[in-house]
């Protein structure tokens, strides 16, 4: 890794091609198509942003460019799925989950079509592009839609594994992808199962339950606190719906405190989902929700925002420390 370059710079990204999850999208879809799966893909004027250019070049007949008409794209994807294809449609999460919420509810979920919705650059990862391009509500909205699975992979390898698993998955899926070049937590070909959380460790003092991009900084924070002698654990809740309630309860029975960490409003997201389980099941652990605290994000580069909102490793550690001390 080149440490002299700023992590937000394109040079950094060029030099540190560590399976960016958005090239994973195109690469994995190519792999699935070559293996004979009836996958097709579409985007709404963002093929360079989400990397589908690669897929479009390799399989032009399987790719549809919808232009800046996200709602049409989602409804059309549902129509396409009735012919036996598995459509993967990708655009910014802010547009996909918020602008197209009703199309997702009516045409994808209610009609039970196996569409895979890829909401990328979610959370605050669009940085200084501002609130129109941020998505800190998408988990809350998507998880309230019946029959829709909501998945928030931690990194590229996990996203690839989830994409591979998705070809046999009967229900529609909303994938929530962060910047697309987030640090990796998992090795390639790490097994993935929808609805089954990855329990890294359980801590007696604290278990962090994280989803998406914050899993990596949460793991770093966990290790730092462990070195100081605290018993801290980590659960990667990659599937937010259906939620792995058993994993939450394992943490609730083991740990004094559960800390949820998400790149999302603490209302209705992972923190909300975990709170619902704890309220219904008991278990005794105190819950602290960490994320965006019901506000529109400031403008800044993504890394500066992660620092400001304490969603980097240092920030998660700062939030966690008083809970274990």
């Amino acid at each position: 890794m080149n440490s002299t370059l700023h992590p937000d710079s394109w040079q950094y990204r060029e030099l540190n091609k560590r399976a960016p999850s958005l090239s994973v999208l195109s690469d994995t879809l190519i792999e699935l198509a070559e293996a004979g799966h009836p996958v097709v893909a579409g985007t709404a004027d963002l093929q360079h942003s989400n990397g589908l250019t690669g897929f479009a070049g390799r399989f032009p007949e399987r790719f549809t460019q919808f232009g800046i008409s996200e709602q049409n794209m989602v409804s059309a994807a549902a129509g396409m799925a009735t012919t036996g294809v598995i459509p993967y449609v990708a655009t910014f999460a802010s547009f996909l989950a918020l602008l197209c919420c009703e199309q997702i509810r009516m045409d994808v979920a209610y009609c039970a079509q196996p569409v895979r919705l890829i909401g990328h650059h979610t959370g605050i990862s669009m940085g200084f592009y501002g609130t129109s391009h941020h998505a800190t509500e998408d988990i809350a909205i998507m998880r309230s839609i019946a029959d829709l699975t909501v998945v928030s992979p931690a990194d590229g390898p996990q996203f690839a594994a989830a994409l591979r698993a998705s070809v046999d998955y009967p229900q529609p899926i909303y994938f929530r992808i962060s910047r697309g070049h987030d640090p990796e937590v998992y090795a390639r070909d790490t097994p993935f199962e929808f609805g089954k959380a990855v329990i890294h460790e359980l801590g007696r003092d604290l278990t962090i339950i994280a989803t998406g991009m914050p899993v990596h900084p949460a793991r770093t924070a966990m290790r730092a606190l462990q070195e100081e002698g605290y018993s801290v654990g980590l659960i990667d809740m990659h599937t937010i719906k259906p939620l792995d309630r058993a994993a939450v309860m394992q943490a609730a029975k083991t740990s004094r405190v559960i800390l949820t960490v998400e790149e999302h409003n603490v209302l209705g997201g992972l923190g909300g989902a975990v709170a619902e389980v704890l309220a219904e099941e008991g278990g005794g652990a105190r819950l602290v929700r960490h994320g965006i605290r019901d506000e529109f994000s400031l403008i800044a580069r993504p890394t500066h925002l992660y620092r400001h909102y304490r969603l980097d490793a240092k920030g998660v550690e700062e939030i966690a420390r008083p809970l274990v001390a």
């Binding site: 009836p38 097709v40 007949e61 399987r62 549809t64 919808f66 232009g67 008409s69 709602q71 049409n72 989602v74 409804s75 059309a76 994807a77 549902a78 129509g79 396409m80 799925a81 009735t82 012919t83 036996g84 294809v85 459509p87 009703e102 199309q103 009516m106 045409d107 209610y110 009609c111 039970a112």
Partner: protein
């Protein structure tokens, strides 16, 4: 009654020829069947979209009993032509046709809208065999049709996609996203039919948000456009036969069907408030008699007591 089935297929699509007087008579009879069944079903629900069905009864009849390639009793046959409804609130007129085609048990109709019935005000593909896509939120269906036509092209499936749109639906932005998309992707097997009855829930379409010049709009979006009297089964069937037979067309095709909202019942034709309503038993009897007399455009009488319901909130 011996059901009047779908035209036997495959017809010679290269030269379908004009509809015969006998075929036209049967299409008119099936349109009356749609209207009568709509009245019967709404009498169960106690409120419904009579006039929205009456404006497209001949369109239902012509598509299902003449134009579309379908197989009686096989709603899931992969080669069938697809029919989507942007104006999903006219489903009460579609359900009797689907039952008549043996897509589901006719007894289902008797429980229309009752607790647990698969049949409600809007069509649900998960519950009703023969519904090719669910609807209810106006503006989605043309996009769904775009997707089906794209999927069919990639999968090399041989079917046409017909999408019935309301004229009020032209006010939804997504329709025009889909229109751009269909023209760009040269979806020549996609046919939109606009039921141009002139009225929507709150009044006249062109007073509320003017959609004219409608034919010019569709042409400007890259579609082949036809205009037809939507109650003239001969003109409608012949046009649809020609469109279906033309396999050289690369543009999507839009038919603007000039229709009358509430067609067949005089006071519904003249009172836009009948978008949603309920006929009292005596009015229902007279409406039925009007339709049975085949006096579609005649004045049926006076002394109508049923209130027209003018907003969903009073239903």
């Amino acid at each position: 009654m011996e059901p009047t089935g779908a035209t036997s297929w495959p017809r010679n699509v290269s030269d379908p020829g004009p509809v015969t007087p006998q075929e036209a008579g049967r299409l008119r009879e099936r349109a009356r069947f749609v209207r009568l069944e709509t009245i019967r079903l709404i009498s169960i629900a106690k409120v419904g979209h009579y006039s929205s069905v009456f404006s497209c009864a001949e369109i239902f009849s012509t598509l299902y009993y003449d134009t579309m390639n379908i197989r009686r009793g096989e709603p899931g046959w992969p080669g069938r032509d697809r029919f989507l409804m942007g104006k999903g609130h006219a489903a009460v007129g579609q359900f009797p046709v689907l039952a008549d085609l043996d897509f589901f048990d006719k007894a289902w109709l008797d429980d229309y809208t009752r607790l647990g019935s698969p049949l409600g005000d809007h069509p649900d593909m998960r519950k009703v065999p023969g519904v090719d896509f669910s609807s209810g939120s106006i503006g989605h269906a043309l996009s769904n049709g775009v997707g089906m036509a794209l999927g069919a092209r990639f999968r090399k499936q041989d079917f046409d996609v017909f999408v019935l749109l309301g004229d009020g639906e032209m006010q939804e932005g997504q329709v025009w996203e889909a229109a751009l998309s269909a023209a760009t992707h040269r979806l020549g097997r996609l046919v939109a039919i606009v039921d141009r009855n002139g009225y929507q829930l709150d009044g006249s379409v062109d007073d509320i948000a003017a959609v004219e010049p409608l034919a010019d709009k569709w042409r400007a979006f890259g579609w082949e456009v036809h205009e037809v009297d939507g109650h003239d089964v001969v003109a409608l069937a012949n046009l649809l036969r020609r469109i279906k037979a033309d396999r050289t067309r690369s543009q999507p095709c839009c038919i603007i069907a000039r229709t009358v909202k509430g067609k067949g019942i005089d006071y519904m034709e003249t009172e836009p408030g009948w978008h949603l309503g309920y006929l009292a038993p005596e009015d229902e009897r007279r409406a039925r008699e009007t339709i049975l007399a085949g006096a579609d455009a005649e004045v049926a009488g006076t002394g109508i007591t049923s209130p027209a319901i003018t907003s969903e909130g009073t239903a």
